[in-house]
Subunit: 453 residues, 2 copies
């Protein structure tokens, strides 16, 4: 036999059982997105490299999957690039297209390209795979799905309120208990200002983002290494130690940032978003977390992160407000806010907590045993009636031994076997066997539908 | 402004309106697949080129999108390949992976790779995009979706019967009137034998496949060009002119092929499939078409093709039985039968005939006007109640001019606007405005739910 075929490392096949679970997650998210008036779009897997390059930093450029041009791709290529082994510059010559790296840049490209046809505010969602030439490791894949929802063209904080409700609804439907953590870029900027280190905003946020992992002392060490004065570090300490209820934290932060314009604006925004959301009723915990930064260079207002309460795993959803999504494509000043659900981690959480509904199975509800032509014909007629009633049903295609047919049903997790033999044909009935309990009964077809519904 | 960004030629963005229509098609197909006990799988977009190369002929190899290796991809590459401009051999060195070209080869790879975990018969479906570096033209894209359903590991003709019913059900649900054409490779082989040209099977099928396009005379000319004797052409003529009902055609064919073992077996298979399917009740027309070949080198038994009756367009679904899906991966003798729905053509047919249901829209059912904080808060509470009742609802995020808000609702095709002002807040009601009729009425929330349901 030839060598067993395989797939590229970091990619996955999804079996029927896995797909049933994944579809349960995607369908739940999609249904909630629809309920909130978000509209699905899709963009091509391939984008021009000119669209993708320079958008994810040097590291990101390196991790883009590039597609070799068709035809005579060496035509006109300077051979010196090859002789000098300049692989990056050569790649730019022989590859025009790349696979999308995330959904954000293609979305920005979409907005700019179609801006004359788009009505603002534009509420879109997108559920598609992305590709990254990252080193594969546990939980990190080279192909994975992202589920993003964004509103662009509106600065209103009601959009934040809607997104938080959407997060709450998705995880309530999935049965996952969560905490939503909020922060605001303006609060971080205000903090940097009031502790006397306005130019150290990035250093501060990079360091304090690690507080949960490494603790306050190590964070302070890192802040010192990054050139923060002792005074600034001492001034920061009480801010990082703010505790109490959400309301108490907001009040404490408000007092610390009083008089600082940017910081106070940030607190005001946080208060509005939190108060309005809480007033509408939220099942999730809602927390303020001043150490939350998440790609700070991108976010300009609200910052959102979601943690599962019952499983130790990183953030399972995140997002925030940005002010310059499309500037890089020549359309500045478009504000937006968005969230992204981490489907792979949600999949792991549901598995760990065993939260999939009992009917999250790929299987038909009933399979009819096959005893030969006459019985099969009678079975197919009943199957047709079942399908008309919306019941997934099938026939075992061969008149194999009963044991084999039952074994098939069992391994496919089909809960019922239908049997039509002489006696059932005589009185237009079906014998239905419950594979879990072993019970069986002979019933007319309308009763069969009732049992299976 | 920078140059307007664009996407690679032959690829498409799908807007919210287009996605709503596409999802209608995919959901219909998916639901029918489930109803018949087929299970969804997914395979990665990228496959190893060793899996893809040599499976689609020389032309196909050329049309594969190849992905440049990451890192130092020139390492160890013989520079002579570059100097001699041997682009094909060089590509094989600098690219290990390619984008999938269809769903069949990845499916075969999946079956072989997972054969120890798969229970036969294996009924799978797959709905995913494929990529081909074809010259783009009207109706031909470089990225497009395929929707395939196959049963492997069973030679039973009941699988054909199930697939035909599935086709019938999908198009009945979509409201597209169709004719299903059947043929059988064994019939074609039998015909080649009885007209005395058994070695000309491929030539005959390639030529007669064009009969609808170019007519019998031209087909006969081509047959002569391909070396068929006058006797053979004369013997073929009455076969190509078989007419009458399905039953009459089958009888005529049966008479012609009497005594020819292969041909008679083919007729017998056709009869069983047609009779069993018709007995179960079929809304589609079912025809025999001895000129139908469809990639003959692949199919070994039943051949299936579907045409729309009310739109001039090519085949909208096709398929057939094959006996060696996985042989190329070292697992010979696995028989299967499958069909593939042409989603892009079905999309065009539904558009041409205007067959999309009225609710195939991306839009929310109602949008609430925004008059400021107090009204917005009251609106959000009502919206929450609507969503709990499963009604898609949203709020206009800014307290903009009423005209602008109504204009937004209009252009989004949202049918109703909800209005909550002083008077509605006073008595817990909502004014609902029907944008199509202009009518409006002030109603309590439970009545609102009733109207929108």
């Amino acid at each position: 036999m030839a060598q067993k075929p395989s797939i590229p490392k970091g990619t996955r096949d999804f079996t029927a059982e896995e797909m049933a679970k994944r579809n349960y997650i995607f369908d739940t998210i999609r249904n909630v997105f629809h309920l909130f008036g978000f509209r699905q779009i899709e963009t091509p897997a391939m984008e021009n490299l000119s669209t993708l390059m320079g958008k994810y930093g040097e590291e990101g450029d390196r991790l883009l999957f590039k597609i070799l041009n068709s035809g005579d791709y060496l035509n006109g290529v300077d051979k010196a690039l090859i002789d000098n082994n300049e692989t990056t510059r050569l790649a730019a010559k022989i590859c025009e297209k790349g696979l999308r790296y995330d959904l954000t840049v293609p979305f920005a490209r979409f907005v700019v390209q179609h801006r004359n046809d788009l009505q603002m505010p534009f509420k879109r969602f997108q559920i598609q795979p992305v590709w990254r030439a990252d080193r594969p490791q546990k939980g990190r894949y080279r192909e994975f799905y992202q589920c993003d929802a964004d509103v662009v063209g509106s600065e209103s904080l009601y959009n934040e309120v809607e997104l938080l409700q959407m997060i709450d609804e998705v995880f309530a439907r999935l049965g996952i208990r969560i905490a939503i953590k909020l922060n605001n870029r303006k609060v971080l900027a205000g903090i940097a200002e009031v502790i006397g280190a306005p130019d150290k905003l990035i250093d501060i946020t990079v360091a304090i983002d690690k507080i949960e992992k490494i603790g306050l002392d190590k964070v302070n060490e890192e802040l010192a290494d990054r050139g923060l004065s002792e005074d600034a570090i001492n001034a920061l300490r009480p801010i990082l130690s703010i505790s109490g209820s959400l309301q108490e934290r907001l009040d404490a932060l408000s007092a610390i940032l009083e008089g600082n314009e940017t910081g106070s604006k940030g607190v005001e925004e946080l208060k509005f978003v939190a108060d309005t959301t809480v007033a509408l009723g939220l099942r999730a915990e809602l927390d303020l977390d001043v150490s939350l930064a998440r790609g700070l260079n991108y976010y300009t207002g609200t910052i959102i992160e979601v943690k599962a309460l019952d499983v130790e795993i990183g953030s399972i959803t995140g997002g925030g407000r940005y002010d310059n999504l499309t500037g890089v494509f020549g359309m500045p000043g478009l504000s937006g806010v968005g969230i992204s659900f981490g489907a792979d981690r949600i999949y792991d959480v549901l598995n760990t907590l065993n939260l999939y509904p009992a009917d999250t199975k790929a299987a038909a509800k009933i399979i009819f045993a096959n005893f030969g032509a006459k019985e099969a014909e009678a079975s197919l007629k009943v199957i047709k009636t079942l399908r008309q009633a919306g019941i997934s049903a099938e026939i075992y295609p061969e008149a194999a031994k009963m044991k084999k047919q039952i074994g098939y049903a069992d391994s496919m997790q089909i809960p019922f076997v239908g049997i039509i033999g002489e006696s059932e044909m005589a009185d237009n009935s079906v014998t239905i066997k419950n594979l879990a309990s072993g019970e069986q009964q002979q019933v007319p077809v309308d009763k069969l539908i009732e049992i299976l519904k």
